[in-house]
């Protein structure tokens, strides 16, 4: 049988980085190939080349035996290729339906047939078990929902080759299970699939073959049968990675952040945080577990001054704060790793160095009065790039040139470096490779040990369980339980999250 996708000797040079170095890879019909590699290894670059979005400097890419033409994405789509992009390719001001039909719109006469589009989308979302509201506007949707839209968009046509670039980073565990079963079924029906993910258990669960990139080179091929998660991690990073976190006992101090009766509305003005109370102590990590969409996002945004508080109090170091703006929250002592790094974490067109000081741009030593101190800014950047292993040829490059995981590292580096009394980290390791996850976890623990009060929100129950000293479970806009993580039962927490137990 001829290969569905044939990549031969593809290289791509970016200024200062060889993103792809003579890579050859084939994918056959009915096969699931997992593409692994550290942040910046060149995975997205390679698959964007397959989709006609990146022009390789050399090498050839064939789909169904025919070479592709750079820039001819329409032609590539019509040959049965679907791609889920790491960075959502959705028009924020348009509806779900408009985004999905873009490029191949159902028509009635000269006009778009919106009714047919809606019906098609509802049928599509039923078929794959990914529910969406065709009339919702993208920018009002949480990232998990946007991810579903992105996946549906790729599945709309009958694809022969499906490329998934980190489709699971923002999905809930249950959604991930559903997606993986969709992947398995598609493969059974003869679709070839390339899956990029940093979650090794997903690789173990669905891949037939695993291909590992490092520094732009293809360094090996293996399969889940021949190895295990630790083996995969080692192959990716080139050293052994401790997948287990070593957490020492917390030295808990006094209350730093106290939240009383907090109520917040979501983008649709529906009350989504319905009275939350808790207190966060110095020197502890409080994990917020919960299925996404149960008010976590709104609740964090309200504390960080990004969303209006409907009711309730937020007391920081004994001082009741008014309804703050983000600057005020920062002044009050809160640093924040936002869950949506593209929208709230970075200014893509600014340099990496500037992004690393966005929270302190007007403070010493980065500014003296009205004048920016460029020397200090670049010195800081060099230190951070080194410490957080941000893969870039130069800190003066724009943030938009970074790979997804490296963008995340920039945000984390910035927020952790200021050492404010409260650290709120929402999905801090989203899209980050295993080696860097290990590093970020250790950084969070050391922030705690230096006396920060850390609030950790994560969709990964494992992350919550391994890092938190106490775990608060959120469900239906309320904290339904706060348990000590020592001896916390995974199943019990899972049931609480699902709203089954009281």
């Amino acid at each position: 049988m001829s290969a569905l996708l044939e990549i031969t000797g593809v290289s791509k040079q970016y200024p200062g980085v060889l993103a792809n170095d003579n890579i050859s890879l084939t994918v056959s019909a009915g096969e699931v190939v997992a593409l692994l590699g550290e942040n910046g290894a060149g995975k997205s670059t390679l698959l964007k080349a397959v989709f006609g979005l990146v022009k390789p400097d050399s090498g050839e890419i064939k789909i169904g035996g025919e070479p592709i033409v750079f820039g001819d994405t329409a032609g590539i789509i019509s040959r049965g290729v679907g791609m889920v992009h790491q960075h959502f390719q959705l028009v924020p001001v348009m509806t779900v339906a408009e985004n999905i039909i873009l490029g191949d719109e159902p028509k009635r006469g000269l006009f778009i047939n919106m009714k047919a589009a809606r019906a098609e989308i509802i049928a599509l979302s039923k078929r794959y078990g990914l529910e969406v509201d065709p009339d919702a506007v993208i920018e009002d949707l949480p990232v998990g929902m946007q991810q579903r839209v992105e996946i549906l968009k790729a599945l709309r046509k009958d694809v022969k080759l499906l490329i998934l670039d980190e489709p699971t980073a923002v999905l809930t565990p249950q959604e991930i299970d559903e997606l993986l079963s969709v992947v398995r079924n598609l493969a059974k029906s003869g679709v070839g699939i390339v899956l990029i993910t940093h979650k090794l258990h997903e690789v173990m669960a669905v891949a037939d073959r695993v291909v590992v990139l490092r520094g732009g080179k293809l360094i090996g091929t293996t399969s889940p049968k021949e190895t295990n998660e630790a083996g995969l991690a080692q192959m990716m990073v080139g050293r052994s990675v401790v997948l287990q976190v070593n957490r020492t006992e917390a030295k808990r101090g006094g209350v730093v952040l106290e939240v009383k009766g907090l109520q917040v509305r979501d983008d649709r003005k529906i009350l989504s945080v319905k009275g939350v109370d808790f207190s966060l102590h110095k020197g502890e990590i409080l994990g917020i577990a919960g299925v996404e969409g149960n008010g976590q996002r709104e609740f964090v945004e309200a504390i960080c001054g990004m969303r209006h508080r409907e009711a309730g109090e937020v007391i920081i170091n004994g001082v009741a704060t008014k309804d703050l703006d983000p600057h005020g929250a920062h002044e009050a002592g809160i640093s924040h790793v936002p869950e949506d790094r593209e929208k709230h974490g970075l200014v893509s067109s600014y340099s990496i160095a500037d992004n690393l000081i966005l929270n302190q741009f007007d403070q010493e030593p980065f500014a003296k009065g009205w004048i920016r101190n460029l020397g200090e800014i670049s010195k800081n950047a060099l230190g951070m790039v080194e410490k957080f292993d941000i893969r870039t040829p130069s800190a003066s490059n724009t943030a938009s040139s970074l790979s997804g995981g490296n963008k995340q590292k920039v945000v984390v580096a910035r927020e952790l470096s200021e050492e404010l009394p409260v650290l709120i980290a929402a999905q801090p390791t989203r899209g980050v490779d295993v080696g860097s996850i290990e590093f970020i976890h250790n950084q969070l623990l050391s922030a705690r040990d230096k006396g920060a009060a850390v609030l950790l929100v994560s969709a990964e129950l494992d992350e919550i369980l391994s890092l938190s000293d106490r775990i608060a479970v959120m469900s239906g806009g309320k904290i339904v339980a706060i348990v000590d993580s020592k001896g916390a039962d995974r199943n019990y927490i899972g049931r609480l999250m699902a709203g089954l137990d009281k």
């Binding site: 964007k48 989709f51 979005l53 990146v54 022009k55 820039g71 994405t73 329409a74 032609g75 590539i76 789509i77 019509s78 791609m83 992009h85 960075h87 390719q89 959705l90 028009v91 924020p92 001001v93 348009m94 408009e98 985004n99 039909i101 873009l102 490029g103 191949d104 719109e105 028509k107 000269l110 006009f111 778009i112 968009k153 893509s348 938009s400 040139s401």
Partner: protein, 329 residues
Amino acid sequence: MITLIKRRGSYYFLAVTLATLYLYSQSANITTSVFSIAVTFAMPLALAAMVGIMCERTGIVNIGIEGTLLLSSFVAFYVAIAAKSIVIGFLVAMATGVAMSLLLALMSVTWKMDQIIAGTILNILATGLTSFFYIQGNMLPNMFRQKPIPGLSNLPFFGDVLFKHGLLMYIGFVVIITLYYGLFHTPWGLRTRAVGEHPSSADTAGVSVSRMRYVNVAIAGAIGGLCGSYLVLELVGSWNRGFTAGKGFTALALMIFGRWNPMGALAAAMFFGLAQAGANQLMINGTVNIPPQFVGILPYVMTIIVLAISAGKVRPPAAEGQPYEKGQS
């Protein structure tokens, strides 16, 4: 938010309708004539705003509308004289508009130049060429004369206001309505807006960003040519230096005030036209004693007020002014 805007729009509409009814009951003739003159003032502004909307909806900032109007009206005038045909003058003016637009597209899409500079170049080019080649004392062979539309023109009020104009005015209305439906109800419009908001989404959906931009900017140029032709061949009948008097810039304000929506911009232009026609009428009546200079500066003052009102409350297409780099993000 959107319902709020719509509601506000309908309040304006209601207020204007009531005021009109009142005036009409006071003096039917004068009210009708003021409105019908207002439409002739409004059309060139509305068409010029369409040029801006077409460009910006697709992500290209065009501050060269003024230049496009100036050069195409100039060409319309002299070609009509040379060819002794206003139709040929009109067609060549449209071609001129398209050529200006292609130059803009070349600079901003292909060369990825700063779009403000590209637009400025258009303006300078038009001013330079028209001043250099300007010759005084020419006369048009004829003009696009009033052609009442049979039946419709007998309607009370609306017949006089909307259906007793020349050919280019009617074409103008068709263009604006077509643009409105095109932009919001056709595949082409969906793609255009996607390219202007988030070009990489369009690109990954197989829509060629640069082709969309070239085509739309070219269409905008043709509309600019229509606008220039209307001004010279239907409304005024002669051409002099600085003929367009900043209409291309006022149009940008109308585009913003109309929220990049053809109907919104048309309504805004109508509002301008009414203000001017009304002021003219008051001056003629001698009801109030305003010096003509004040009437002359009215459009400019209104532009400033309109921009001040809408500033910060409207959201332009997100990708406007930014060249598209494939494969980034």
